[in-house]
């Protein structure tokens, strides 16, 4: 069966149940679906976050995500992958990103989902601007995310 692959960048919110349904449609070989959703927190350190605005590089963002999805599909036996990343203004509690992976058995789905999130965090061209009481500032990238991506490098 052909893998179902969905990659979307959108302002609108996503419905996780609906996306899982779309991912598994037409497949009888799926025994495991893993879902990760990234959510906007209401605070960072001790500061309250009023909102996040997500900027992205149209064209490159889709291509970069597709490259990582291709890598995941070549490393693990996956029946499907969905990556949805929101852009625009997001408030605490809102969804930001969704990664779904489907496979026959759970190990591939779990590992591929974590791999995709680590790579997305390190390489996908999106930038967050944070509004708080202190003003508006660009969120700084964390080296931790580059390290997380590096641990997937094959020996």
């Amino acid at each position: 069966m052909t893998a179902n692959v969905t990659i979307r960048i959108q302002q609108a919110d996503f419905d996780i149940a609906r996306e899982i349904s779309a991912l598994t449609e037409g497949h009888t070989d799926i025994g495991a679906v893993v879902s990760f959703s990234g959510i906007c927190r209401g605070s960072e350190a001790s500061e309250t976050i009023a909102a996040l605005t997500l900027e992205h590089y149209p064209g490159m963002a889709e291509e970069e995500i597709a490259r990582h999805v291709d890598t995941a599909m070549s490393r693990w036996p996956l029946s499907g992958v969905s990556v949805i990343h929101r852009v625009g203004r997001i408030i605490p509690g809102d969804n930001i990103v969704l990664v779904l992976t489907a496979s026959e058995h759970r190990q591939a789905a779990f590992q591929a989902a974590e791999f995709l999130m680590d790579y997305l965090k390190a390489n996908a061209p999106f930038w967050k601007r944070e509004e708080s009481a202190g003003g508006t500032s660009w969120v700084e990238a964390r080296h931790h995310d580059d390290d997380a991506a590096a641990r997937w490098a094959k020996p």
Partner: protein, 83 residues
């Protein structure tokens, strides 16, 4: 070639994109950043810490020593915070 700027690089320069033709003596991404920095103080401010700036040529991440010859689009941006 088309140049694109994102996040605070865009804010400091005051433009999201432009078309420029650097001289043929500018051969790599880091040479291009140095050349851009000399245009005016907004560019100098954007590129004041070149080590922090990331680049992509035709939608693919590249290192500072990457050659720019033949590039259609070069983008400069801070480290990413997606996901």
């Amino acid at each position: 070639m088309k140049l694109k700027y994102f996040a605070w690089v865009r804010e400091r320069i005051g433009k999201s994109e432009e078309t420029l033709e650097p001289p043929s003596s500018v051969r790599t991404v880091e040479e291009l950043m140095a050349w851009l920095a000399k245009r005016d103080e907004t560019y100098a401010h954007a590129f004041e810490t070149p080590k922090v700036i990331r680049a992509a040529i035709d939608h693919a991440h590249v290192k500072p020593d990457a050659a720019i010859a033949g590039a259609r689009e070069i983008a400069f941006f801070p480290p990413m915070t997606g996901g």
